[in-house]
Symmetry: C3
Subunit: 352 residues, 3 copies
């Protein structure tokens, strides 16, 4: 591990492309053309008549017109400028005013997979896309877990959130009105770093319950609380959050949650933030859904406000970088930074 | 002609300066100082007491104060900062607080010509300005033609509109609610390319009338329709538009129009769009004026929306350029691109 | 002195850092964290419990979080992201989740001095800060002078205002509705240039009173009017303004003012403009306070509008610079430009 106090490597300036990213909640996409920028590319999303999701480069190969300004015709898209008709695999079917459809007249089709209520997209070489490499997420498809979720947007680089999620000591200071208490920052941390995963564990016994636990779970006073932040680069996070009355030994007294955070670079210094919260208790209780649907975006907005404020500082120093130091809790975030850098370097080496 | 499918030369990054551009509708200018940026230069427009139009560099040679923030005094302009008084030829008449008026104390005066209800400006070397090289526009001054017009603005490069106007196949897809039908895109096209003119002709017999023809002209069902798009680089377009009931042989049954489009680069990636529509029928009918004054800006705004969307895509790839292919209908647009590039190259060679 | 008509050296692109700048009116700062950018750096201001002002770099050394988004705890500031606690001297007292507080865990503390109702800040090497080098301003602390003031902001480079204030011929053209008459621009000017001061004097006898004098002072008709604009680089200006009925010999008939202008670069092409007006007459008359508090911002906003318009022109030509000439009244402004350039060059030489 990098030694504390040694100047951190900087934030990655690129993200790897031969990876699965979350393009949005599955429910965001339908029988309508929808533009979303991902990793600096405009993508046109829609569903075929049979519901299969489609992602095409959102710029006509002829004159860069966004296809999303055109028309959905069955499973095809007609460009709204000069009428070239593209099939869902990106090949042109028709070029008005000429009979020949050149083979090069096609737009890129991105591999997509719908799974766990999320739409996953592969931003790199389509031949290398393997759905098996999507990180597991069994609770998102299980009838024993209840899921709520939403979509947020950030005017800052994606990596700021990737690192935020790997140092949960921040909840003590950034979220004291909801999920933070002093205990979190002071808890011992265990960081496990693998090739394609970082895991940061805080196991807290007999600590104060934060305000949100009382409000949503009816838990006040002393609790046992375990946080495991798992990061699957480049942008998928699972925070395993278990809480129970302090010392309770009855397994059924534990409130289990998985908080899923999907951080996808958008354009330059902005990113998408798709979140889900699953729970294994009171799964038919709409009131709990409602409470989390209110509480979570408030918490995440605090993260976004902090990250955007940091982005503004960083931007003012570009292309230089202001001095920075690392502390003990940065082991996880710095590992994330190194993995991204390594992924980018590997891709770059392969292209050569 | 360039072969289809071969990568297009890119959009021109510069426009020639030793050319006449349209600075606006003549009625836009009066006894008031008015700023308009043209080809990345701020220009101060006004009329002398006798009505003659004047165009001066809109930055005082002393400290760059826009003259348009000063005062019109008779035929002169007084800078609103330190009071230097400039005559309509750009020479300083008075420098307050000193007796000597340095010869170098002058601002550039641009040659201007008022003709056809338009104000033409020469953005280059004044000695080379020759009003005879302004493209002809007899219908704009003729009592047999009735003119309506207006001013629009676009947040995209001028060339996007120059090319839009030379490939009218787009009306089928971008303007189906007004002037487009499928017939237009499918019609045979004849492209004539000269040194200083591009002409694209679509002669359509016995085709469906688009919605606007019924609304304005009372023409529905089958019509004969002829479009000739003429481009006089760098930014003057005349679309000759004739329409009559299908098969009508009586010349008086033809509705004749000239749609004049004047595309002038403004600043960086923005442009002015001045338009006029002249017609040779019902020239005293205010109702027809009113209908075209409503219909035309709606059509042109669709072109602007498309062009601005394309600009946004292009901007995201700069300084690189996304891949692009050409199709048959691009003969006219590509010729326009080459003429602009040649004009710029010739100017650059002359300066050396 | 530089000869008129010879191309001016350009505006300085940097300002010296080993200098005192005004950070604001003293009343702007209190027991709250407040961000202000100065010379392209974010600064966190607050007062200790005993009222002493503090200025810290407004970015946590850990991850660039603005400290102003944290919490004031006694005399210390707790970062709102990961809870590092900084003392008023910038040293960390506590790093949550670890016992060791690294020596490098500190933020920069800027020397500040509160004097004359202003907060002065030293943006360079703290060891070289000497309060004795702050320009004198006895009237700001004297019971015989009454002070009103305010804070303005400009979207243009600071130097535009530094030069505006050294060529008061502009009041005739930019402020004719308040403090300008033709006499000002036409008055003889005496310019004295020292190493660290520029003084421009206009002594006007038997001239017309401008509108503001009648409104505020009850002085109309002919007056004797003396303007001495003193500039203490890099950004402190004292305009000594005396006015009396023309020919009056009774000293008590003179209305004496000192207009204090503090121009401090903010970020890139923007600046702070802090102003004070002191007077030596009717010092207990709130109505006079009120009249000046209304009149002065209106005048200064005219300067800002002009400067911002010039900035827009300059920006369009960057990195080039449009042609420019100097005239007689520019002796003071050009001297200011040279002093700034010299200060920057000296600092740069010292650093080598």
């Amino acid at each position: 591990m990098e030694k504390y106090g040694v100047a951190a490597s900087r934030y990655p300036t690129q993200f790897p492309r031969n990876q699965w990213y979350v393009a949005g909640l599955a429910r965001d996409f339908g029988r309508v053309l929808q533009q979303r920028w991902l990793l600096d590319e405009p993508v046109c999303f829609y569903r075929r008549e049979d519901g299969t999701p489609v992602a095409l480069a959102d710029r006509c190969i002829h004159r860069q017109m966004p296809l999303t300004l055109g028309r959905l015709k069955g499973d095809d898209v007609e460009c709204g400028y000069h009428g070239i008709l593209f099939a869902a695999d990106g090949r042109a079917r028709k070029v008005p005013s000429q009979k020949h459809v050149p083979d090069r007249c096609r737009v890129r089709a991105y591999p997509v997979v719908e799974s766990g209520g999320l739409l996953w997209i592969w931003m790199g070489d389509a031949d290398r896309a393997d759905a098996a490499s999507i990180p597991g997420h069994p609770w998102l498809d299980s009838p024993q877990w209840r899921v709520v979720g939403g979509t947020l947007h950030m005017n800052c680089r994606a990596q700021l959130l990737n690192e935020n999620l790997l140092d949960l000591s921040h909840v003590s200071y950034l979220h004291p009105d909801s999920i933070g208490t002093d205990d979190v920052a002071e808890a011992d941390v265990e960081t496990e770093i693998e090739d394609r995963r970082v895991r940061v564990t805080r196991d807290m016994h007999d600590v104060m319950a934060p305000p949100a636990f009382e409000k949503v779970l009816g838990l006040s006073g002393r609790v046992d609380r375990k946080q495991v932040a798992e990061y699957f680069p480049p942008g998928f996070h699972v925070s395993h959050l278990d809480v129970k009355p302090a010392g309770a030994t009855d397994e059924s007294a534990t409130f289990r949650h998985k908080a899923i955070h999907c951080i996808t670079p958008e354009r330059g210094k902005s990113a998408h933030y798709f979140w889900l919260l699953t729970r294994q208790y009171r799964i038919d209780d709409d009131e709990i859904d409602h409470l989390w649907l209110q509480a979570i975006p408030r918490v995440l907005e605090q993260d976004i406000v902090a990250s955007e404020a940091i982005e503004e500082v960083l931007a003012a120093y570009e292309p230089e970088y202001p001095p920075e130091i690392n502390i003990k809790v940065d082991a996880g975030p710095l590992a994330a930074r190194r993995i991204i850098a390594r992924m980018v370097a590997e891709e770059s080496a392969e292209e050569r």
